[in-house]
Symmetry: T
Subunit: 142 residues, 12 copies
């Protein structure tokens, strides 16, 4: 099993950026934790981060051919990108939407998700454990 | 550790009701699966289901005194009950919002959650695995 | 043939409550009139009234197993209850929505029906004749 | 007793048009069935159909002078015609709004009725039985 | 000078229809009063009334070629007809919008005028004097 | 007969201010024209202009005791002043709302009138002839 | 004189629940304070609290037969319950709406009151003094 | 203790203005009643009324320096004045919002209060008793 | 192949009406140009224009029996007519929506199309070339 | 003549992606078909596709200097990109908006076009024939 | 060069009022700072502050005749006053809108500016430096 | 002191693009003018322009580490980019929002700024002087 873990804009700033909301771990540290888990369960993991909407679209399309599932934190693009949505709809593997914080506790423009209804499921509010739970779900499907 | 698993209106109909959306398992079967998991992880589980908004409010208040966390599928009341919301805000243990299906793929009046922002996190769209993932999260917090 | 006639909140006040809108007959008197009609057409009738949303959900679920149809005046819950709606969607017998007055001639928050689109049909504005017409429809389906 | 049965735009296409929604009977066949019922109850029936909003306004005005009641399926004009509404408000006989299908199960622009609150009552969702129930109501008022 | 006085749907019912709102004069009587005034000021008057939206469009177009101005009570179509609006925009003579009652004191759907901004001016709320004032304006322009 | 002609904010700038919209006549010139008409018809005229919302409220209240009617161009306060509205509702003489231009041809925030439904009638779009027509109406009521 | 003091959902948690908003007094303590006042003014007091919407409907209906007035803190149901509203409209004794905090300083979904316009008056923001002021009003009416 | 009782636009018309809504007492009579009460409780009272928004702003600012509290009936400005709101927020003494009638039973534009959330509490619907209750609250705080 | 080219309200005014928006060609000239093209491609063309909504409904229904496709410029009725929409949905031949100008560059009430989603395709903004492109599409389908 | 044919996000997935909506042809195949047509009419064609919003902005800007027109399928960015809109407004050659499917038959967030009113015309719903019709229009302008 | 610096309601409270938002400087101190700057650049400065909407209208009108520009902090009236807007539109000198804080970081009713589009430019969020920057702009235009 | 001057989409077209709105200066010329000013005040300036949302996010993040402030003209992304907003919120140096024209005088979708409330201040409508004023502000902070 091979999963693609795709992170959207400003998540490269994790650890530095508003730690009250997003926690103190950097993205690298989160990825390391997931790698440990991946090894335990024999799941290969690809990591990708970009601030550019279209590069995320590319990454989703390519993962659709190469992986068995995607764990996607689309960050800001969750709320504005029809293009990311269309990319998810265009592939056949399951995509899990994850968020570190719960968008509903924040500004009103984070209450709308354009991607929720083309994802298999969504997990929000557990910090980096959101990624872990998504990975566990894939593991349990085998 | 002791968790309260609270299910809202019409979830007593699981297995019979619109199986295309909610799956074939009855609530009893889902609870049995969770009990197995609970035993494995040494977590005691209390189950409660009611169709009555105020009884759910009561159950949430009482769990607040007796348990370490709540896994809550408020079903229809997710979208209409300020009372359930106030009950969650009134207690101090973490509450995880779960849904079998992803409300965002359904009618517009299921797109609003009055409880999301007083819950610790939310998990939706994984069928009965939504409960499992919530339980795993509690297990991982110890 | 057996029909369940379910009445929602405040309909136990009929006759006393705002007679300019709801007429002078008590709920008991309306039920008596329907019993006469039921006998004439060999239709058994079950009556239920409650002010409690969840008890109406229970009643709808149970009628789904025991009766051939439901005549439902959900009163105030017509406009606010996703739970009642889900209960109707969860059973397989036809449900007819009835109202004594025409909700569209009243306050704006009575113009929305959360249950209309899961009911077979709706009849509104004929006073207690609304129940009669619903019963006649069931009779004509045989 | 004399009733006017007035049908609005595209109802001349009944039987051909989207039978999944509107059924297989033509308007002629529905009218025949009502004539049989009319004879049984000694009710004279006038039939009128037009695709033109203003001709429906004319028909409603004239029925107001000549008949004891109107059974009106305003079809598309239900949702857009203030003129039809004003015509109903301008006459003194009771008007019953009928619909073959339940508008609330269809597109959002069919959820608004500009005429509901000037009609005595409304009956929707019973196919051609909607007309029958309206006729039975008039019969029961005598 | 020649003016066209065009009246929309249900205004043929004046005098009979809701006299509390529209007064006791029939349209014929209003037109007679205007004729007396027209003679006094040497203004020829053409009268037209129709319940049919498209016939009003026709009348407006034809008056555009034959008259020096239009006094238009579009009644219900004021609020719903883009076609009447386009007809007014398509001609070059001034059109005065008149109303017997003040639409702003009535239902919300009468608060919008689709034609106000293509008319030269509007006069509302003076009963049949609304027509008189419009005619006086034309007289004062000579 | 004695009429009060009350003008709201910025109308003291008439003639200088955006003449494309409001014409070239100053408020003084308009008032002179009305005085001529007033003399002809034996109508005494009081003039008042203020940029201050509350002074207009005062003026309306006082005219209510002293005059037989008010011609009111509330200008910007038409759209924002509940206080002016309440003043009109608090007196018993008829108030006619006038506007030089037609507010519906201008910015969206001029499309709402808070005072229209407490005025007897409204006249808009005729330049300073709007005042004249209002005065003629009072004259015709005697 | 006999008054019914009815408290809605989660008010049984007073003192424990979000004391920053609701204060430190328990509902029992508030009721004790009111009893002292009641004795002073010779007013009998009935107390009722429930988390269940329909039980509040029952209590309001029964108080309508037995008491001279109701002091109602409907809490969350203030904003969502058409049923509570209908119960108030169905009885003849005056109902005073009270709130501990001022709902307008809180979340947007607390800014709407479905019951305000069927209550005689409303008092909000004074903590438990809101109940006291309501009681004083009843006392002053004698 | 010294309180400032500030009344907004058109309240100088009390007794004359729409007595069905506002009662028969003049503002003078209400103030007299309050003076009696003030004497009884040793509370000095300052009275101010103005129709001018900015003068109310001035009065609120000055009371902030000179008094221990404000009883404010902002009338129409309740719904439109950000300036009055800012004045309340700029001072440190408690302000109680009062209304004679309950704004929620009236036109929709009276349902919004721009000042509610900067006031300590609000009392509405008790006629001139609304002022009395506010005064009693101040008395009870000592 | 036989096509029906149906034009809605005010299009009989083409060439005269607002040429800045609609161009200088009359409807007759546009039809002539299409006839030349029709001859070239052996396509028979029926032309119909009406200002009356219901006559367009009739024309669409009849074309459904007699032609292979419809090119429809519904003009103002595009934005207001559910009846025209229902007529299109009731027939089986493809209907192409055309507009001379692009409705999106004009008033906001032209931004909504009630017919777009029951038409096969839409072409807007090319002046009379919009009709030509629609005809070419039919030609290319053979 | 030289045209630029620019395709937005996810259109590189054509043929694979939701063929029920977008058809079975790949973008390459569509481009081949257009090249054949281009040769026939002596029109040079440049092709560009990108998933990245800003690269589309670049491509539009550059085509503005080098080509005689643009055929643009902005896909998802049609509904969200003010940047693409501004790029179109910044150049001087005509841009034709094309869509394979009719956006109005799909999700509500596809009903808004931010670019429609800066394009010369729009063609939607004809599958890959939408491009062909756009090309034919350019050909006919020579 | 002569500039008018006009300040709206509650700005006379600066220094005392919510210093967390508005800073510690009084209006007098800000004006002193500007006078120093004015002397340096040979710019005469007129200062005006009022809490009364109409006095601000007067001041803007008079500055239009006497000065070369206006620096306007309309405070609360920015969001509610069409009259202030009309006054700005009625004069010919440039008006710069300034704000101490950034209205977009505050309550939603401060997000709308009725005057922004008739001002030459706007500067917000720099505390009293907002005035300085506006003055520097005028200086740079010479 | 080192400032980063970041320009968003289509600003590379300045001088060519809609000069009526944006002026005749190219971006290069504006940057030259700022360099002169920078030298005068000993402020180092970094310039960056991109049409790609994510590259702007990158630039903002990097400037956060390397500079003392950002002058940002996000152009079209001002209104649509939550990602740009999040980047600003993620860094610690002050960001000034600038616009050449005043967005409030343009299309409605330019009236919303997603970034205003995370910027220190905003300056709009002064053409290239907007940048100058922002730079002067930074200079004055030293």
């Amino acid at each position: 099993m091979r999963l693609s873990i795709i992170n959207g804009p400003n998540l490269n700033m994790l650890g530095q950026r508003e730690p009250g909301i997003y926690g103190n771990k950097s993205l690298k540290e989160i990825e390391k934790g997931l790698l440990v888990l991946g090894e335990k369960y024999k799941i290969e993991l690809d990591f990708f981060q970009s601030n550019i909407e279209g590069e995320l679209v590319d990454a989703i399309q390519q993962s659709g051919n190469r992986c068995d599932g995607i764990i996607l934190n689309a960050a800001a693009y969750t709320h504005t990108s029809v293009a990311v949505r269309d990319a998810i709809a265009a592939i056949r593997i399951p995509v899990i939407e994850v968020h570190l914080s719960n968008p509903h506790t924040r500004e009103y423009f984070r209450h709308t998700s354009l991607i929720a209804d083309v994802c298999r499921g969504s997990i929000a509010g557990f910090g980096d454990e959101s990624y872990t739970l998504a990975l566990l779900w894939f593991e349990r499907q085998r």
